[in-house]
């Protein structure tokens, strides 16, 4: 089930909300667990068993590891950890990377092993990573063992973030599983957030996605620079609005049930460096890799050479996490190199440009633009690598982007989607949020009334339009679904 479908909006959501709030408080986790399992089984009637297995394995290992830590004999602790890691990574590796491995072995050794052709279980990357965060944090003593399998199951399977994140660490949610605040403030905030996310996905992401779809099907030999750039920008916008929209819906839904998740996106396209970009994009993933891979590898504690190595490893894995294809590894590596260079010397250069402390508004303005342009161009190029899975086609696409040529179809797409792009680009910045915050801080009754009118009419407009586009569009992809 996708959040932007009528099935979810009209059938599933109101029914679950009803059940949740009518039931006694101690039944709430159970209701969430069963409805989340139903939600998952709806999309994966068979693979839901796999998720149940994963829940059971990690729940059992949690108790095992916890009792081993508390017992006098801690000899086997590393063994349990290793086994658990193998189990989790094994499941993930088999279902997601099985054919990738086979293809590469075939290519390397000339063998002709046949592919397994196993369909990818939806959300496996997300729930596996969540489970691993629990086990590792348990081992580190950062969280307490979860002995209630319903509560634990709720953590793993919670439908708001099951399919597409954010990757919620057990730490974040540990207390909330036992006790959370369900009041009108949270529910209203959740509804607002959900509607905004819905609009981002259905109104913006799906529509700019059609532009990318159109351009990516052009033979790249005939592509003009205009079309190439238009396509790249379209994908850049699509992936942001699709993914952050989904995260917004997840966070909003969580709020409706009383959960507070961490933010996953903070206007990443306003970043002034790639380092900053990765503190604002898919924050939960970056945090996960930092906590559970980078820091265990040593982070920056063993000198520059080791740090460089660590960064490369972490980013190759980050790339690979996104998909079982080499272009994703290249994508990760691309960022690794830039991040290393930024750490080494680029960041100092950028700081000089970042004259936010400067007095002159003009230097501030141009400095800002230069920084953002630097970041955005690198990001847009990265999305080209990300979007094209046949790696050998990437260089020709990038080549098409050089120059000033234009073609009729590109001009047509630009004309046809100009307003949409402008709206999307503005919506990607902090401008709308700043305006809203400014209105919110108005103390007077008049200011409040104005804000309320704008807010309610805006929300209703977005909701109505989203339903219309959801109903009438035959095009409703979800880019991060391969995870």
């Amino acid at each position: 089930m996708v959040f932007s479908s009528i099935t979810f909006l009209v059938y599933f959501l109101p029914a679950i909300l009803c059940l949740y709030y009518m039931a006694p408080v101690r039944m709430r986790n159970f209701i969430l667990l069963t409805s989340s399992l139903f939600f998952y089984a709806w999309g994966e009637p068979i693979y839901v068993i796999l998720m149940l297995i994963s829940i059971f394995i990690n729940y059992s290992f949690g108790i095992l590891i916890d009792s081993t830590i508390k017992s006098p004999n801690t000899r086997f602790i590393k063994l349990w950890m290793a086994l658990n890691l193998c189990a989790n990574l094994g499941i993930l590796g088999f279902f997601k990377y099985g054919d990738f491995v086979i293809k590469n072995i075939n290519a390397l050794f000339g063998t002709e092993m046949s592919l397994l052709n196993i369909p990818l279980p939806i959300g496996i990357s997300f729930y596996t990573f969540q489970a691993m965060s629990y086990i590792i944090d348990l081992y580190r003593g950062k969280v307490r063992v979860q002995k209630n399998i319903v509560d634990f199951g709720t953590y793993i399977a919670l439908f708001p973030q099951l399919i597409a994140g954010p990757i919620v660490r057990f730490k974040t949610i540990e207390e909330q599983l036992r006790h959370r605040v369900c009041n009108v403030f949270n529910f209203a905030a959740g509804s607002r957030r959900f509607i905004l996310g819905l609009g981002k996905k259905v109104l913006i992401a799906n529509n700019v996605g059609m532009v990318w779809d159109s351009i990516s099907s052009m033979p790249s030999t005939e592509m003009s620079a205009l079309s190439a750039w238009l396509g790249a920008v379209a994908f850049t916008l699509q992936i942001y609005f699709d993914f952050s929209g989904y995260s917004d819906m997840a966070i909003g839904l969580g709020k409706m049930f009383g959960f507070t998740f961490d933010e996953n996106f903070r206007h990443p396209y306003s970043s002034k460096s790639i380092t900053e970009f990765w503190r604002r994009w898919h924050i939960s993933l970056g945090t996960w890799f930092k906590e559970y891979v980078y820091i265990p590898l040593g982070g920056n504690k063993y000198g520059a050479a080791r740090q460089t190595m660590n960064i490369l490893i972490v980013w190759a894995l980050t790339g690979l996490w996104h998909g079982a294809s080499w272009n994703f590894v290249i994508w990760g590596g691309y960022f690794a190199v830039i991040l290393i260079l930024e750490k080494l010397f680029i960041n100092k250069l950028l700081e000089r440009l970042d004259r936010s402390e400067s007095e002159s508004i003009i230097t501030k303005f141009f400095g800002n633009i230069a920084l953002r342009a630097y970041t955005l161009i690198l990001v847009i190029i990265s999305w080209v690598i990300f979007a094209i899975e046949d790696s050998y086609r990437i260089p020709e696409y990038l080549k098409s982007m050089v120059g000033f040529s234009a073609d009729a179809q590109g001009m047509y797409l630009l004309q046809s989607n100009f307003i949409l792009f402008v709206i999307a680009m503005i919506a990607a910045t902090e401008v709308p949020q700043n305006i809203y915050r400014k209105l919110e801080s108005e103390e007077g009754i008049l200011g409040t009334k104005l804000r309320i009118v704008i807010e309610i009419s805006g929300l209703i407009a977005i909701l109505i339009l989203s339903v219309a586009y959801s109903v009438a569009s035959t095009y409703n992809p979800f880019l991060y679904f391969r995870f």
Partner: protein, 390 residues
Amino acid sequence: MKKFRKYYNLILSYGFFMILAVFLLACILIQDKEFSDMENRSLQIFPKLNMNTIASGAFMSEFETYASDQVIGRDFWVKLKNSGDKLIGKKDNGSAYWGREGYLFSMEKIDMEQLAKNTSYLLKFKGNIEKKGLKLSVAAVPTSSEILYDKLIGRPAMADEAVVLKSLNDSMGEASIDLRGVLREHKDEYIYYKTDHHWTTLGAYYGYRKIMSRWGGNAEEPSRYKKEKVSDKFLGTTYSKIAGFNTGSDDIYRYLNYNIENSTLKIQKSGLGRENFDTIESRALFAEEKLATKDKYAYFLGGNDPLVRIDSPKKNGRALLIIKDSYANCLSPFFTDNYEQIYSVDLRYYRGNILELIEEIRKDMDLTDVLVIYNAIQISNDRNLVFLLR
């Protein structure tokens, strides 16, 4: 202030929930529709629920379609979406473009591989009938996207019909009748429907004239026909691709003269080409009853049947065989001035042997010409042309 915020959030919360709940109730209580007139398609009804459909996921994916198809106020939502597209400056919705003066253009793709195959089938067929002393003519009629291209806003890449025509002209040579010239000459007239992919009767008339001039036959002047508007509410196939789009409807005309008015139609429904036409009841060329339905273009010859015969009062012993798609339906009546019998075969439904059919016709009539007429997109993509060689 705090209390105010509390009430505000209360209203927001209940408001959001109530909207969803009301939707849910409405969708459950209101009866499901089976067909959408506006979108011209059947709507998904409640899917079968059993262990198989659940395990395979079929129930769920059909339910998703069901939920969307049966959502309350579906027509309103579809219309709203189309208005939204228009408002934001888009010129297409992924299935069709909207152009100037209310013209809608369907988005099509040409299957180049199939075009190559079809060209080779036509060539072989040409050889086969030339052995029997007949002449083949192939007319690939360009669609409005080709002739009225400047009515599109901007210059989107459309299916390249010029490539189709070139391919046919090159391989068929004299046998190919290129109608682009004559249609371009009259492009400022109402020769294509605005909301449908067909040409109008007027457009078909110009096609008829060109074909007759290539065959050395006579075509009457336009002024010799009585022009009658039979409908002004036609919303065709392209409209269905942007259902609910706020645009004017098309007019359907028929052109009458003595021969057309007094011609009759016989329809062979079996598709095997063996029914005796003499035993089939005659009916009118034009199907009045279709004008009250959505598919008004079926007014011409009642739609598409495997094999039909038009009998003209012009008793000159000559017959014409047309192998066609629906573009020929408003064209065939014009031939009643020149032929006593006009046979039309639709290869999608016809399962007989064309060469045998030709022999049958020749028993009583003088048959010299076979006309293959499709629109340029269809002639490229149609998978039934192989049956020419059955």
